[in-house]
Structures are given as C-alpha cells and as structure tokens.
Symmetry: C2
Subunit: 219 residues, 2 copies
Amino acid sequence: MEPDRKRPRRLRCDAEQNRERIIEAARRVYEREGLSASMASIARAAGVGIATLFRRFPTRTELIAAVFEDAMERNRAAALAAGERASAWDGFREYVETVCGLQADNRGFAEVLTMNFGSAKVLERHRQEAFAAFTDLIGRAKAEGRLREDFAPEDLLILLMANAGVLAAATDAAGEASRRLVGQMLRAFAVGAEEALPEAPAPKRLLRGMVRGRRGSAC
Amino acid sequence: MEPDRKRPRRLRCDAEQNRERIIEAARRVYEREGLSASMASIARAAGVGIATLFRRFPTRTELIAAVFEDAMERNRAAALAAGERASAWDGFREYVETVCGLQADNRGFAEVLTMNFGSAKVLERHRQEAFAAFTDLIGRAKAEGRLREDFAPEDLLILLMANAGVLAAATDAAGEASRRLVGQMLRAFAVGAEEALPEAPAPKRLLRGMVRGRRGSAC
DNA sequence: AACCAAGTGGAATGCCCTATCCGCTTGTGT
DNA sequence: ACACAAGCGGATAGGGCATTCCACTTGGTT
C-alpha cells in the first residue's frame, strides 16, 4: 500500500512497479479462483515472467500475505467499528454479517480467514486485533442479555469455516445461501432470536456443480 | 454389493475381483483424502494398472458413484429410520446429527453430499428418497410446534455444505467443531431451543493448517 | 556516456496427473 | 486340451505445475 518501509533497501523502481502489478493480478485471480490458483497463472495474469514472481515472492505464503494484508486490515477496522455501536449486540451482529460478507465477495479471503499464517506477521496481528475487539464485544453483548452465555469466541471461527464451505459448494446461489446460513447462526447465538431470516435460495440452484474437483474429468 | 445384475453380461471372475479391489481402495483413499484424490493414486492403492481402473470406470464420476452407493444407502436408511420416531422433532434432530456424523467420518462422503451427480442414478435416487423422508419429517415437526415455521428443506443442504467446510478447515478439531456447528444449527431450527450445546474445541487446534492447498509449497 | 548491480523473461528440469494404446496373459466354454 | 475373447499392466503422449538457472537488458549513479 504505502511506498515501502523496512523492506531491505528499496527496490529499483521498475521492480517496484512489477511488484505492484503482481499483487494486483494475484488479487484478481485469488478473488475469483481461491488460493489454489497456480503461481504460473498469476505470473501470466500480471504479464511478468515466472522468475520475476518467484524472485519477489519466494513462497506462496508471502504472496498471499501481501495480497490480503489490506483485506485483513479492513476486517480489523470492521471489528473496531462494530465495537463502537451503542448496542453491543447490534455491533456483534453487524460484525458477523460484515465479515461473512467479505468472505462472500472474495473466495481467496474466505480461505484466508480460515487458516493460520504463522509467518505473515502483519496479517496475523490484524487478525489478532480483530479477534480481540470481537471478544470484547462478546462480553458486552452477554452482559446486555442479548447474546447467549454459552457463545464461545471459537464459534466465530467455526462460522467462518462453515461459511467458506457454503460459498465453495453453492456456486450459483452462494450469496443467498451464505446469508441464510448467517441468519440461522445469528438466531442460534441470540437470546430472544425472533428476527426474520433471509430467504432460502431456490433448491435447484443450490446443488449444481458436479465433480468440480481440482482436475478436469467430466460427466 | 451384490454379485451384479444388469451389468452387461457379467465380468470374468478375475476382473470382478479387481473391480472390488478398486472400489475398496478408492473407498479408503476417498475417505481420507476427499474426492480430489487422483485416479493414479487409487490404481496404485488397489494394486492394479491404471488401464484397468480406466477400463472399469471410464470417468471419475462412475467410480465415485460405485464407491458411495452404499454410504448413500445408509443415509437413506437413516432418514427412513428417523421418520419412524414417535416425536418428529426427535427424528429430525436424530437425522441431522446422523448425516452430519456420516460426513465427519468420511471426507469423501462429506463432499458427495454437497454435489449433484446427474448420471449415477442409484445415488441420486437414494438421495431423493432420503430427502423426501426428511421433508415429510419437516412437516410433522412443524405441526408438533417444535420446528420453526420458516425452516426450509434447503436449510439441510446448506448445513451439509457448511459442515463440509468446517470438516475441511478444522483438521485436528474437525469432529468437535462439526458437532458444535450442528448443535448451534439445531438451536436455530428449534422453536424453544434450550438444549445444551456440545463443547467448543480448544481454539489453538482450530486454526492449524497453513496453505494446505493442493500442491506443496511451504512456509 | 559508460558501467554494473539489479532485474528480467524464457528455457530447462523434474514431478504428477489424465487418458489411450498395445502386445502379452489368462479365464472359460467347448 | 485348446482357442480366443476378455482382461491385464506398462509405456506413452500430452499437459500443468513449482522451482531453478542463465544469458540478456536496464535503471541509476558517477
């Protein structure tokens, strides 16, 4: 995002440009295809040689970290903003919906949110901070009597994993199915829980794909 | 399962043996690795040549259908059995827990339950029948006043997709995380919903993997 | 202007995968 | 016992991918 800082000794300016092009291309590719996109396809999309990609990002993890740093930052911002709401429950609800929406909009980020990147310190710090803000929200929402006492912070992680699964499997109806899932889960978390549920997607569109597994094959 | 019937003119007995060996091997491999396991690895596991595998199962889908026919049959049986319970809600609950448990025990079947196999008629027929029995259960559980009126049959599909996602992402704590998810969802579905929740898994084990994507790469 | 470290792209290597081909082996009906 | 259709597995073609290597180019400094 910003020029650069602690990166060892500043890149030559054409190299820096290429670096940006790679990140932008990877952003597009990951958003559409998820993290399993090949390094080669990203280099192609960026219009650079494969060697250039590997020179700048020796491991896939480093590339992923660079690409999703700002999405994770947006996630953190959403958690902090939700913490400001007058009603903790409203904040809780808002954050859950927001983060699941981020997943729905970006297949790569959906996966990132369900994994652990031991290196990638910035990424993990943002995740930590978001999680801390959310944990704080949990306590207050319970105190308000709106969130069930047995809600655990891990339930958010589980929801993120579940949502990623729905998004991956529901192809066509992914957005609707995801919103429905989130609505159901919020009901499960809430104490009263009489809020309306988003409409369920039409069943035909729900089970569409067929052996959409990694490698080709067919019917 | 049974010798064979309408299969065109009966295989030579050594060929039939190989066919069984392939199915058994595929069962083991898919159970562990999911449906993305390669044909080559299955042939290797079965101790047959690749050609033999392709001769018997020209497409991946045919192999998958053969492998999971009986699991799908067990699924159907579970739905029918659940329909017999005196309390429809108890049956509903039992079936949901059972089918999600089947997913937890078998990564391949978890995926099968979230896809559509246009060919594979036996598979789809069993799925249909299970779904019909479940739909019947839904109506009765609503009539009992235990299941919320806005529960839709599609919610089961969504839950299956969600559960598959949790199972795929939670590696170590997969079983616990899955049970927790199911517990939450049942709360969302129920009218009263004051049943206890399974314990949440320890957070450390929840986010473990790191770019466990298809191909190697590393930290 | 000239130099050279930094940077580049494409070729090369090695792996695994799908799918098909083909010459050899074997079960089975006569 | 024999013939031969049925079946077998290894080899092969063709492709994608990760990763490394290397001869060439170029930005930036003097």
